[in-house]
Symmetry: C2
Subunit: 336 residues, 2 copies
């Protein structure tokens, strides 16, 4: 298929390239008749505008970026669906960029945006991302940015989160009500504000129940699945917890694996709550009590805020902070 | 942050914009000394090239597209990881586009590529995609395209697949060996060649065992999760199968759901094999016997072929057909 250019249309119609370009963009400088002739020929020859050239002119790519750590997590898979539902309605393309929990890779992706590849950004930062050393502050002056779930609290832009502290408080209180007295928390990261929130909700529940805050009850993990599994085994062997809060889906899966290896019976010897949107949670053995996050709604809300800002430069993104509550879904992993 | 342009560099150094541009691109027309002065200033001022302008010149975006139906499926999540491992090494960005199993949306995405947004495409087509009505044939003349998993068999370009027919044959034979005599197959689509391959392997195994091919033993599903669940219930109620091959992860999950609703006991009353890379398969109740696809390897191989073609225009993509075998992992859902 030969590439049809504006120049070719101009030659065929004996018009200037400027006229063709204006006619294709529905300019009022061009007569109705000429506009029609040009657009009909363009359609007939299957003319496709070059997005790079037209982006230079219009400064719009009709594209938004979604920057997330990974897709092998039900939360992000569902959030993307929420984002795409809105973008599709607005006629925008969605480009998904994965950082694989690597803040350097995240930085390289963000650098790539400085020069106009996308019109706006929805981002959930990596476990490593520290706001201070981050290019997001610069970038947010050039492009609208909306954080969802994993935010940089220091950055003055829109944030869509869930009630992480409250949800962890409720989950921990549930374990206490089910008889747990020695509850451990598996933390996915030291950096992430959402994880700090969850730890704080967990500590609040222990305090309210008059339970001690033992110094090693919170253990920290990385993005290394095999390493994490070994560390979960070690933790469960050492501490003889009777309850566990797993702050991510993958850590919850590692608990099942470790219990199998160590012969720990769930829920009799260990009760478990996982932060997870896993569709198979209810079919696990035992079925998993989860903190289910409103992933689709969070993605949809974040995208809606971004498009408001794209439509209206003066929309005060920095003042938008939306919190959508999670839900505790009680199943057999916390049964008495 | 002010945008540093080539013009600004030219003014500061009292050189022409053409000289600046050539110096930044390491042109041999420019003296070593000038090149150094320009590049040092560019670095100092944090100059970022405009990708649109530079794409117009170089006709390369250093970007590849991955076009897939969805990410809420372990196969695609793992395949992306394989693709990104290769792309990262080559210094390319990966843009992920989701079609949500909608061939019109797929077509809109492909149209967007006609004008140079990406250098090459890795694609796994939708359940609806019919090769005949598809823009891929046109596009493959302009851009290198590599299919992985879900291919259009009619199109002369590289394909990375798994042994779908053989894997379904082995899975069905396994059910027969475990005593099943009335085996149903849940087909995710009528269009997809990989599903036709799986049906054909299933039929071959029945035939070899001298079992009848009953006309309604293969049922077809769409992308509607709720509708599929209802249809699975209906199918299991009507046919009293003693064995099921679920050709996708989501259909396997629907079988668990339907069995719960209908009070069918797995594996005693119904044995199930699912095509799935679900990391929780071994923790399901009962643990799920799976056909595990080499998703990471398939993604990695597809990306490697694409980069070979990007490096060398004459690399015969059309002759590349790689098949990487799947593995049957036997668990409790097919226990006797």
């Amino acid at each position: 298929m030969e590439n049809v250019t504006i120049r070719m249309l101009a030659e065929k119609l004996q018009l200037s390239t400027a006229t063709i370009s204006k006619a294709l963009n529905n300019s009022h400088e061009i007569s109705e008749e000429t506009r029609k002739r040009v657009q009909e020929l363009a359609k007939e020859l299957n003319y496709v505008p070059n997005p790079y050239a037209s982006s230079l002119r219009k400064k719009s790519s009709k594209t938004i970026a979604v920057v997330i750590p990974e897709v092998a997590d039900s939360f992000f898979a569902e959030a993307i669906n929420g984002i795409e539902a809105v973008a599709k309605e607005k006629g925008y393309h969605v480009l998904i960029y994965l950082t694989h929990e690597n803040s350097q890779q995240e930085q390289a992706i963000l650098n790539d945006f400085q020069s106009g590849r996308v019109d706006g950004i929805l981002i959930s930062v990596t476990m490593e991302t520290a706001a201070s050393e981050h290019g997001l502050a610069h970038l947010s002056k050039e492009l609208p940015i909306v954080f969802f779930d994993r935010v940089c609290e220091e950055l003055p832009t829109a944030r869509v989160t869930t009630n992480d502290k409250e949800a962890a408080f409720i989950a921990t209180r549930h374990l206490i009500e089910r008889g747990c007295r020695n509850i451990g928390l598996l933390a996915a990261s030291q950096q992430l504000s959402i994880i700090r929130q969850r730890i704080s909700g967990y500590e609040k529940a222990l305090k309210e129940a008059g339970l001690p805050l033992s110094p090693n009850a919170v253990t920290y993990y990385t993005n290394d699945t095999v390493g994490n599994y070994k560390k979960v085994c070690e933790t469960l062997r050492q501490h003889r917890f009777d309850g566990i809060i797993a702050t991510t889906e993958k850590l919850a899966t590692s608990v099942y694996e470790a219990c199998e290896t160590l012969g720990i019976r769930m829920p009799d010897e260990l009760k478990v709550v996982g932060f997870s949107n896993l569709s198979t949670a209810r079919f696990l053995q035992p079925s998993l009590t989860t903190v289910a996050q409103p992933a689709f709604e969070m993605g949809k809300t974040a995208a809606t805020l971004l498009f408001r800002s794209l439509k209206n430069n003066h929309f005060p993104l920095a003042h938008q902070q939306v919190e959508i509550p999670s839900q505790l879904v009680i199943r057999q992993s916390t049964a008495v």
